[in-house]
Symmetry: C2
Subunit: 390 residues, 2 copies
């Protein structure tokens, strides 16, 4: 940004949206699932009522953290809000029944209000996973037969990356087959152990799969399965598909899901989840430059290098910048960043010292690219408004 003829420094600004705004979380990408938009239209849309049961009663034992992992925040937004949003943006999903432990009801109500979730109702959890899911299923049927969903999706609050195409596949298969579950190949070999802690035998990997979420059921089947199952199932069972098989005689269809369906379980998974959130959000970053030829060329190169984000050349800023001819760039960026923050935009400044020779210029351009890339990747709110030097 050429602020006047005496100041030859250029400012390249890099602004990234924050996750806190549900509106900018990008929709599912094409080509990631077997069901594309065109397949959906050829098979027909979802013209029957679908609702979701989302058990969120976990205690966070395995992450070693005090906050249950579904309530851990990523870029200022709790994990469960990402999961809810993944369902809320699907037009053919009516209701999301979140099953939450009594001690977290207030927190959950806060989250629903703050992130403006509109399809969510809450119901108190039970003492085990199955009792909680059962409460959710029953709550979906309480408003009378005509309001009952035809298909129920059961998912986990700690699997935030489920996409519409895959949900479509789950729901259509549930309608046809009665029960359906997502599976993944096993990452490790599974072995049977003796009671003394020795190897008994190794399972043949090709015949087995990891059972993941989401799962789908017609309302009737999941309702009957919970109505008929034993106290021991409610206490010790782990698998809804197993209940459907045992109590309704329905062999669930199994569909391989994408690797992003994995469950946030350990502390390291929180970092992995943050990485995926950041990677997805990085698509909505933009670079703003002043009108100087060098700056525009450089911003163009950055745009090409990072590929995924759009570039905005905001001429209006120059006017702002020279409103007082003596305006220093550092306070200006801090001021702009403060103004941008309430609109969920993270703004960082990079000051490029316009060099005299080509070699220096190349070095500076490389620094700008490095810093821009780091800012986009890290999306660190603590560095907002800083004027970095390239």
């Amino acid at each position: 940004m050429e602020m006047n003829q005496n100041i030859t420094d250029d400012v390249v600004k890099c602004a990234t949206d924050r996750a806190a705004d549900p509106g900018i979380f990008p929709a599912c990408k094409a080509g990631k699932s077997e069901y594309t938009a065109s397949e959906r239209s050829s098979r027909g849309g979802v013209d029957f009522p679908v609702s979701v049961v989302l058990p969120a009663g976990g205690t966070g034992e395995r992450t070693g953290l005090r906050t249950p992992k579904q309530f851990c925040t990523f870029l200022g937004r709790p994990l469960i809000s990402y999961t809810i949003h993944a369902f809320e943006r699907v037009s053919w999903i009516q209701r999301i029944m979140v099953v939450v432990a009594k001690e977290n009801t207030e927190l959950m109500t806060d989250i629903i209000q703050r992130y403006q979730h509109t399809k969510v109702q809450t119901v108190p959890g039970g003492s085990t996973r199955h009792r909680s899911i059962c409460n959710g299923v029953l709550a979906l049927g309480e408003d009378g037969e005509d309001k009952r969903p035809e298909v129920v999706i059961i998912h986990d609050a700690v699997r935030p990356f489920v996409e519409e195409d895959f949900l479509y596949k789950i729901v259509m298969t549930a309608k046809e087959q009665g029960a359906v579950g997502a599976i993944r190949p096993l990452v490790s070999t599974v072995i049977a152990t003796t009671s003394e802690g020795y190897l008994d035998h190794t399972l043949e990997r090709a015949k087995y799969r990891a059972s993941e979420m989401p799962q789908g059921f017609t309302y009737d089947i999941i309702y009957q399965a919970y109505k008929r199952c034993s106290e021991s199932d409610l206490e010790f069972g782990t698998e809804c598909l197993h209940l459907a098989l045992q109590y309704c005689g329905t062999n669930a269809k199994l569909i391989e899901g994408p690797p992003t369906l994995w469950k946030v379980t350990y502390k390291r998974d929180l970092a992995a989840a943050e990485f995926i959130i950041k990677e997805t959000l990085s698509q909505s970053a933009c670079v703003i430059t002043g009108p100087s030829l060098h700056a525009v060329t450089l911003a163009g190169a950055l745009w090409k290098a990072f590929g995924t984000f759009g570039m905005v050349h905001l001429r209006g800023l120059d006017g702002l910048a020279i409103s007082g001819t003596m305006t220093e760039p550092a306070p200006l960026i801090m001021e702009l960043a403060s103004a941008a923050k309430p609109r969920n935009v993270l703004l960082f400044g990079i000051q490029l010292h316009q060099p005299n020779d080509l070699e220096q210029w190349e070095r500076s351009a490389l620094r700008v690219a490095e810093i821009t890339s780091a800012l986009i990747r890290e999306r660190n709110p603590a560095l907002v408004g800083q004027l970095l030097q390239a």
Copy 2:
């Protein structure tokens, strides 16, 4: 840092060591494993030769990256170098036989030289995992019977977080029992599928475990197992423990390992690995301040807040800073950072504007804490030498 009486700004510097220096990677923490140092001394040390086979032939298929994941870099150092270092720092491990695909031999030789690995030899990989491990085991025996290890540890290049206490347990058990493997509880329910893709049955989770690495064998058992096994085992088998059982009649002892033993498999695991590396390294950050009372108080508070890192109050810096009375803080920090970089120290500057009233002071102190925390957590080399404003 009070640079002279006219400049009242304080500079708090935050320097963090880089992973690239193998010397600063911290040793294993106490209390993380069942075998503590005192147990080791009561059970006696490892007084027999132990070597490692480290297959590193993976193609990186599942991460979706061009670089095989063992060669992906974290904070400037490839993943496999962290894994090698985890073994190299254990005094009773003699040799590490890295099995590497022919096309990566040169890259591996580079890594060994650059990160000064001293216990490593390489051997060309085979067409399958078992052929590769077999090559490694045979290579360990080539120097004659007297140089043969008594116990062989088999591990994965993409499991960098193995600790000495757990290796001790593996090695002592291998010596006693002939074969031993690390296990973990199953994260997902395992299900058997019909050939048509329907649920056949659900496995009872309590009886099964995920088989992980490291595994340990006496040299004789692993050598005989590979000598006797079939071509089909070498081609399609996945589990060394299974070969020991089938061809040597040895039921391996199974030991539960820590969650950090997990295998870097998907792209998200790279983020999880980086998180653990950063978390471990954050223990070696320090805060440097000038002598002003406010700055020292603040640095003390930061030191308490972050707990794990030591504080250095480097008086000498003041001398540097005022060597020319008109030295601007920004270029000075850039200069110091350049000087520190070859010594693997990342140096960042934070300029604290000494405020007039208490409320402002609290706000500034909070900003310093925020920025310091972010810098320590992210360890971003692209931001080295920046003077950030608090």
